[in-house]
Amino acid sequence: MNPLHYLWIFLKASLFSTGGMGNLPSLHRDLIARKWATERQFAESLTIGQISPGPNGLWVVSLGYITNGALGATIGAIAAIVPPFIVLLIDRAYQKIKDQPAVTGFVRGMSLAVAGTFIVIIPGLLHTSGFGPRTISILAASMVLAISGRVPLYAVIVGSALLGILLR
């Protein structure tokens, strides 16, 4: 594992996506193809990112730690902190660009594609929990709770983990 290459994979994933989890499809494809991470490690770090304090996008710190220890966590943190600085350029130009169809279209297209690729990548994580009535019922229940918007998302994750222990 070359640390610079590893950093580039993380940076690239965040630079060319939006939101804290928009980097997942790109990271998933690149790291798994090189066997630098497993489906299971992605599932673990996403879970920890949801229950730990701060932005959920810090899940990459957890992914870095799980796959490469303290060095990996540092690289994950750097790759999370650098891309949002582009907002300073946007701030300077905002009055000029905010109503430009090219800009709004670009951002819209990226959001749509992040969602499209995300929906393809994320069900793969289910392989590591095993299909069965328990998996399917937790999946369905968490979706209903998320759509209803009445329960904080981290509570859904914690509740599902407890359910996993109870139904062991």
Binding site: K12, A13, S14, F16, S17, G19, G20, P25, S26, R29, A43, I48, G49, Q50, P53, G54, P55, G57, L58, W59, V61, S62, Y65, A80, I81, V82, P84, V87, I90, A102, G105, F106, V107, R108, G109, M110, S111, L112, A113, V114, G116, T117, I119, V120, I122, P123, S129, G130, I138, L139, A141, S142, A146, L153, V156, I157, S160, A161, L162, L163
Partner: protein, 209 residues
Amino acid sequence: MDSTGTASRIDLTYFFTVWLKIGLQSFGGGISTFALIREAAIRKFQWVTEEEFLEIWAMVQVAPGINLIALTILLGKRSFGNRGMVAALIGLLLPTVLLTALITAVYTKVQHLPITEAAIRGAIPAIVGLGIVTSVQTIMPLLRSAVRDNRPTLDLLVYLLIVVGSACAAARNIAPIFTILLASAFSSGVYSVVTSRRQSRAHLDEEPL
């Protein structure tokens, strides 16, 4: 001169501790972090007005990466310049990054216990479920606004084409993900430019001479 220097230094130290507190209180992930930042920025300390906050949030949506970090960068910069930006970022991220790493370190020590295994097996379907719902929720407002637009069917078709096309491209592994995302963004940008030109030309044609 000297006294204002000292005063602003005290203010900056205080500013830093406010962000440190936000970081330490932000259990519950992104939504509670956002609520704490908003509360501090608009109500408690009035760094920005509600309108300014909304405009900053709109810019943040355009920036790559974690929205809350971009938000912190701009709020810090607007309040105390570059030093404020650094203070806010360190305040928010020092506790949250360290706690995330610490929780992960503890996890790796206990991950082979049967109880941890059972907990993770319970959490994985929930992560997948939340991920699917969040993705659909980011698409829906765009599709809805397309329906409300003056060219409902064409916009809707193009948006759906981007979602389905990028999903198929990822599923069949025909290109790196970031290529798929950039290609989608560029084609959507071009589409917006072309349709807005055509619209303004049509608008001009309607004008009686």
